[in-house]
């Protein structure tokens, strides 16, 4: 049995232990959906960081920086700055006025059923896209990391899927939170160790390090090239590179504040002040992490080299291969196990936010008009939907296969969150005139335009050379209609525009009358949901 596999199994054992402990400890809806609202500030901060630093961040960004230098670092910056939107605009009002989901805040003053139905649709869309991207990535990665132990893509996907279902169905939000915390601590320690090793390689001399980053040598189309990896422009090239960077930036800094699996975290703490402190904890951790991504990425580019990475699993393997190069196979196994933990924790977070939205928004509030017919029904429905969501993503990931071009799905999740969710949350908190028609049109326009624009973007439309085969080929073999990879720059304003036009074209006196209630609640915490008693 390989060292990697042993470490994977150790992590699985620990997290199943947590799940068992959580299942003994909690019962009731507030426990299942919000961990009894008794998570502390630092715990929630670490868990937010855990939810956010997905395999796409750890392996993806390290790989992007290793291959595209500075341009990859632009992701890191956007991912962190996003938390100021969360901190200044979203976290506290949401905690003060909501119960389990973002739709709770919308439902205060707007007509609950249409708004919740649209919000649930948007939440499920974001979570599903994000999850498929993680699952396909997870399967390919686990199979690669455990190469030689006979674990195939299918086995890996099924394993990840079953584990995430177990965490959520049996342990609810409490288990999910602690899995995030364990994972975040592992990820931070691995990243710190790896960064120290990179610096040690350059005798702790930053000038030597950056001198090497300034002359990265690799083969491109058979030719030897030397590039300065600190210079922008390796990935985002004219004519649309600059616009794409802006569009990506907008989707990142406004999308994070609309990601359902981040938003649900604010309901797990006792009050708005704790929610605020948890965001501050998260910015410290996430910021430190993303600064270190430059050591990982530049380290992989200079020490391991692009040519070697291409021949040993590709961009996503940059960080693990760096670990192997610097400290041997055991450290490679450790970093691989961290990558695996990262994937598991993130998919668990996505599963619980998707099933919460389905059970709370759609089942209880849309279908049954806000009345639970039997005690515990909402939690039961959430458990069943967690199972269904998990099973569906296993099947979809296996059908798509390990080579599927799914990286754009993460970008799409951010774009939908920024274009559909964020405008309606913001307008509902800040604009007295806002109403149901506005919320429904805003959500619909944001959802449709971001998905539509991605469908006709270079992510899905391109003419591949015949050497590209199977699932790696672009879905539509034609020149892209929309030139940018990320639709944010157009779809976010359209989301706001839809919400505003929808509002102005209709009259709904009650939504204006009830604005004061939401205003007082969201700003003072008066009447907010209490933590359960120990």
């Amino acid at each position: 049995m390989s060292t990697s596999l042993a470490m994977f199994l150790l992590f699985i054992a620990v997290t199943l232990g947590i799940t068992y402990w959580a299942s003994k400890r909690s019962s009731g809806a507030s426990a299942f959906f919000a961990a009894g609202r008794r998570i502390t500030g630092w715990q929630n901060g670490v868990a937010i960081a855990g939810d956010y630093m997905s395999a796409a961040s750890f392996l993806g960004i390290a790989g992007l920086i290793a291959f595209s230098g500075y341009d990859g670092f632009m992701y890191s910056v956007g991912f962190l700055v996003a938390y100021l939107t969360v901190l200044l605009v979203i976290a506290e009002p949401l905690r003060n006025a909501g119960k389990y989901t973002m739709a709770d805040v919308l439902a205060y003053r707007l007509s609950p059923r249409p708004v919740r139905a649209m919000a649930a649709l948007s939440t499920l869309t974001v979570s599903t896209f994000y999850m498929i991207a993680q699952m396909v990535g997870a399967g390919a990665l686990v199979a690669l990391l455990l190469k030689g132990s006979g674990i195939s893509f299918q086995t890996a996907v099924i394993g990840v899927g079953v584990l995430m279902i177990v965490y959520v169905v049996f342990g609810g939000m409490l288990a999910t939170t602690w899995v995030q915390i364990v994972k975040a601590v592992l990820l931070m320690s691995g990243t710190v160790l790896l960064s120290i090793l990179v610096l040690a390689h350059f005798d702790f001399n930053l000038s030597n390090f950056f001198a090497a980053v300034g002359h990265v040598t690799y083969h491109d189309h058979g030719q030897v090239v030397v590039k300065d990896f600190l210079l922008p422009g390796l990935r985002y090239k004219p004519p649309y590179g600059a616009l794409d960077l802006l569009s990506l930036g907008a989707a990142l800094i406004f999308g994070t504040a609309g990601l359902p699996h981040i938003l649900v975290r604010f309901y797990t703490v006792p009050d708005a002040k704790t929610a605020r402190n948890s965001v501050v904890w998260a910015t410290v951790l996430i910021g430190a992490f993303y600064i270190m991504t430059t050591f990982l990425g530049f380290g992989a580019a200079t020490i391991v080299g692009r040519d070697y990475i291409v021949g040993h699993g590709g961009t996503n393997m940059s960080a693990p291969l760096l670990a192997q190069n610097l400290a041997g196979d055991v450290f490679f196994a450790f970093i691989s196990a961290i990558a695996f933990a990262t994937i598991l924790a993130v998919v668990a977070g996505l599963t619980i936010s998707a099933s919460t939205s389905f059970a709370h928004d759609f089942w209880t509030n849309v279908i049954h008009k806000g009345v639970e017919r039997r005690a515990g029904e909402e939690v039961l429905v959430a458990r069943i939907s967690a199972f269904v969501v998990g099973a569906a993503s296993i099947v979809l990931a296996i059908v798509l296969g390990p080579t599927a071009n799914v990286a754009f799905l993460v970008g799409l999740a951010f774009a939908v969150a920024a274009s559909a969710n964020l405008p309606v949350i913001v307008l509902s908190i800040f604009w007295r005139r806002f109403n149901t028609a506005g919320a429904v049109t805003g959500l619909a326009v944001g959802l449709v335009t971001s998905i539509g624009l991605i469908l006709v973007s270079p992510s899905l439309m391109a003419i591949d050379p015949p050497t590209v085969v199977g699932a790696a080929r672009h879905l539509i073999q034609a020149k892209a209609w929309f030139p940018l990879e990320n639709p944010g720059i157009l779809s976010i304003p359209l989301g706001f525009f839809g919400a505003i036009v929808g509002t102005l074209l209709s009259h709904e006196p009650t939504s204006q009358h009830k604005f004061n209630e939401l205003l007082v609640r969201s700003n003072t915490g008066l009447g907010s949901e209490r933590a359960s008693v120990a």
Binding site: V77, L80, V81, F210, L246, L248, V279, I291, N516
Partner: protein, 121 residues
């Protein structure tokens, strides 16, 4: 307070419930208007500043690559500017937490008053 559900203090475990008119009257108090004004004075400029500062990065990187390639010690302006974004996030987060202590104090008064009014004291 015709429809208000009456709770005795301490209301720590109970949830506050009130009628529409109660919410309206709280929203009209000077205390609440003060709270909103105090929040606005901090949040609006802070938000505008960080959004503008952030978008300067992709704008300059995209449209002034020559400027951003200026060497600064072992690195260049692009990298230093990107790192400065991290500092800006931490500084604004720190300032916000400080400012929010004032918001909390103002909000606490409003909440206590509301509970007192309902509790009948």
């Amino acid at each position: 307070m015709a429809n208000a559900v009456v709770h005795a203090r301490p209301a720590q475990q109970e949830q506050y419930k009130a009628s529409q008119t109660t919410w309206d009257s709280i929203a009209e108090t000077t205390e609440f208007k003060d709270l909103m004004a105090t929040k606005r004075v901090f949040i609006v400029p802070a938000f505008v500043f960080f959004v503008v500062y952030y978008f300067l990065l992709p704008l300059l990187v995209g449209y002034a690559p020559g400027l951003m390639a200026t060497r600064i010690g072992p690195v260049n302006l692009a990298y230093v500017f990107a790192l400065s974004q991290f500092v800006v996030v931490w500084v604004i987060a720190g300032l916000y937490v400080k400012a929010a202590n004032t918001f909390d104090r103002l909000a606490k008064d409003i909440v206590e008053k509301a509970h007192d009014a309902q509790g009948g004291k």
